[in-house]
Symmetry: C2
Subunit: 329 residues, 2 copies
DNA sequence: ACAGCCTATGCTACCGGTTGCACAAGGATG
DNA sequence: CATCCTTGTGCAACCGGTAGCATAGGCTGT
C-alpha cells in the first residue's frame, strides 16, 4: 500500500503531526532545539507514514552528496574485487556510497569525470587506472585521488605500494636463491610506467651487474601472459633462456607459470622460478603456490578514505607490503 | 582558475549571454524552440564558462536520477568482477550509473535499500545476493531486480541461469563418463536454495537411482571448499569415497581440485572427476582445466538492463548456458 | 489595417530539502 | 510587575534545475 502511494515528504509528515515542515526536519536533527514532546509526536507520524528524507534535495541544498566516483578501467585483475569490497565498506562506514564507473572505449576518463562532476560527487577515485594530467584537470574543484597507482601529477594525491622496497625484496630473494639471469614480464607499457615495478626491478639487477630483459604481455590478462612467455622464451639462448621470471602482477604470473609448465614443459621452481605481485587469493592455491609481494590493500583503502573524509591530510602515501614466500621460487 | 571559482550555473551563463536562464536551458535541449543565433551565443558563453548542468537539481525536478543501486554481498566469487564490468558498461550506454553497495554485517539489505531509496535511485539490482521477501518489501515503489539468482518472490523480476538444463547437462556428461557415485559440494545453505543447482543435480541422479551426498563448504571460498573436501572424503567408505565431485560454482571447484590432488593425493580425472559452474577465467588455466557450465553473464546483464530501462517487459528470465568440457572430468 | 498565427523568450510555480532570522510563550530575575 | 533571557516554532529565501503558460513581435492573408 505504502509503495503505491506518492512519495512522502516532510510536508506530509508536518500535516499529519500538526506542525510545520521545518519542525519535522528538526525532529530528525539531534542537535536542533525542539521540545521533546513535539519530537516524539513528529517521529511517530513519520514512522506511521514511512517517511524518509529525500537525499537528493538535501544534497542540492547542502552542496554535499556523500557520493564518490570510483573509476576503473581494467576489470581483469582479480585483486580489484576484494579491494572494491574494502573500498565500498570503508565508504559506507563514513556514510558515503561509491558510484562504480567503467572506463572503456566508449566511455573514457573525460566523459566519466564530466559526468561525475555533473552529478556533484564529493570526490573522484581513480582506482588502478591509467590517466593523463589533462584528464585530471577536468576534475576542476572536485578532489581527485589515485588508488594503487603512482601519481606523477602535482596536486593529485595517491596511495600505493612503494615499488622500491618491494622489488628490492623480490630481487634479493631471487638473488639469494642463486638466480642470475632473471627476466621481467609486464603488461601495457603506459601503465607500467605508473607502477614503477619494472623500473625498480631492472635497477636492482643493474646493481648486481645484470641486465634484465623485459617481456611485454600487452594486457593484464592471464592468457596474454602465457602467450608472451611461450613466444619469448624459446628465442633466448640457453635452456631455459632465463632462470627466473618476475611478473608485474599475479595474474600475469599465473599465466606465465602455466605456459612454462604446460606449454614449454619446464619445472617450476627447479628449472625456472616465478614471482608475482599482489598476492591474490589464487596465488596461494597449491596448484600455483606463487611467491609474491602482498600489497596492503586494506590499509591503502583505509588511508584513502580517511583522506577523502578530511580526517587525515591529503598527501601521497607510499606503503610497504610483505614478501610472501611460496613454492614457485 | 575555473576550478577555484564557484560553481557555474545556468544563471551565470544567462548573464554572460544576455538572456534568461530558461533560454540557457533551451539551448541545451535539441528539441526546444530557440533561434539558432541565440543558441550559438548561449553555447559559446557556456563553453567559455565551462558550464555543466547540475544533474542533482535536474533529478530533483524530473524525479529521475538515472542511478541504479547494485547490491552485492559476496565479493569472493571472481565471476562478479567481469560481470560488474558488463553491468556498469551496459548501464552507462543507457546514460545511467551504478552505485555499488556492499552488503555486510554492518550494512545489511535493510539499510542498503533504505539508503538507496532515500537517494532516489531509479532501480535496485540485487546482484547474486541472498534476500528475504520482507527485505524487498522495503523497496516500496522502487523497482527491484535480482541478477544471477532465482527470485521466489512474486513481483520481483529475476534473470538467472536455468539450473534444470544446466545440472542435467553436467549430470549426463558425468553419467556418460561412467560416474556412478557423485557427490555435490555447495556453499552456504541459504543461498543454495536460491540457486537450485544442488536440487537439480540431486534430482537428476535420483532418476538414475543414485542418492547424492551433499557436502557443505559453508562459504563460497576456495579455502573453505578445500577443507570441506579434505574433511569429508576420508569419512566415506571406498577409495576414493566417490567418483565425481560436482561443485556449486567454480571457486569451490578450484578449492576442491587442489584438496583432492595436493592433500588427498588423488588424480583428477582418473581417480575422481570434478566439475564446476560459472566458467570463470581461471577454470580454463591448464593447472585446473576444469569442466564447467558457462553462465551467459553478458546476455543476462543485457536483458536486465533492457528491463530496467523499460525497453523490454520486466519478467523473470531463465537463460541457458553451455557445458564447457575440459580435462577435469 | 487588422485579425490570425507562429516563433522565440520570459516568467511563475515547483521538486524537497537547508539555513538563518523573526517572534511568541514561558520562566527567571530585579 | 516590567525586563531579560531562553526555548521552541514558523517563515522567507535559497540550492539549480524543469514544466508549462503568457506574451512580445514578426509575418501572412484579406
Amino acid at each position: 500500500m505504502a509503495g503505491l502511494t506518492k512519495k512522502v515528504t516532510s510536508a506530509d509528515v508536518a500535516r499529519a503531526a500538526g506542525v510545520s515542515k521545518w519542525t519535522v526536519i528538526r525532529a530528525f536533527d539531534p542537535a536542533a532545539p525542539i521540545a521533546e514532546m513535539t519530537r516524539t509526536k513528529v517521529l511517530a507520524a513519520a514512522a506511521q507514514l514511512d517517511y524518509r528524507p529525500n537525499l537528493l534535495a538535501r544534497s542540492l541544498a547542502t552542496q554535499r552528496t556523500h557520493l564518490v566516483a570510483i573509476l576503473v578501467d581494467d576489470f581483469e585483475n582479480p585483486y580489484k574485487l576484494p579491494t572494491l569490497a574494502h573500498l565500498t565498506a570503508a565508504l559506507q562506514r563514513e556514510g558515503m556510497l561509491g558510484i562504480l564507473i567503467n572506463i572503456n572505449d566508449s566511455f573514457d576518463h573525460f566523459a566519466a569525470i564530466t559526468d561525475a562532476r555533473s552529478r556533484q560527487v564529493d570526490a573522484i577515485v581513480l582506482f588502478g587506472t591509467v590517466f593523463r594530467p589533462e584528464i585530471v584537470a577536468r576534475a576542476g574543484s572536485t578532489p581527485c585521488f589515485v588508488l594503487a597507482r603512482e601519481s606523477t601529477i602535482p596536486g593529485v594525491t595517491s596511495v600505493y605500494t612503494d615499488p622500491v622496497p618491494a622489488m628490492r625484496a623480490l630481487g634479493e630473494h631471487l638473488h639469494g636463491r642463486g638466480v642470475r639471469r632473471p627476466a621481467f614480464l609486464r603488461g601495457p607499457r603506459t601503465q607500467s610506467t605508473a607502477l614503477g615495478r619494472c623500473r625498480e626491478f631492472v635497477s636492482f639487477w643493474a646493481e648486481q651487474g645484470v641486465q634484465v630483459p623485459v617481456i611485454n604481455a600487452g594486457v593484464y590478462d592471464r592468457e596474454s601472459a602465457a602467450e608472451a612467455v611461450h613466444r619469448w622464451l624459446p628465442t633466448v639462448p640457453g635452456v631455459p633462456g632465463c632462470d627466473a621470471l618476475a611478473c608485474e602482477n599475479d595474474i600475469l604470473a599465473l599465466g606465465a607459470l602455466d605456459a612454462l609448465r604446460y606449454r614449454l614443459g619446464l619445472r617450476v621452481p627447479q628449472d625456472i622460478a616465478v614471482v608475482g605481485f599482489d598476492d591474490i587469493d589464487l596465488a596461494a592455491a597449491p596448484s600455483f603456490d606463487l611467491t609474491t609481494y602482498r600489497q596492503p590493500f586494506r590499509d591503502m583503502v583505509e588511508a584513502l578514505v580517511q583522506m577523502l573524509t578530511g580526517k587525515r591530510p591529503a598527501e601521497t602515501l607510499r606503503l610497504t607490503g610483505d614478501l610472501v614466500l611460496r613454492g614457485s621460487s
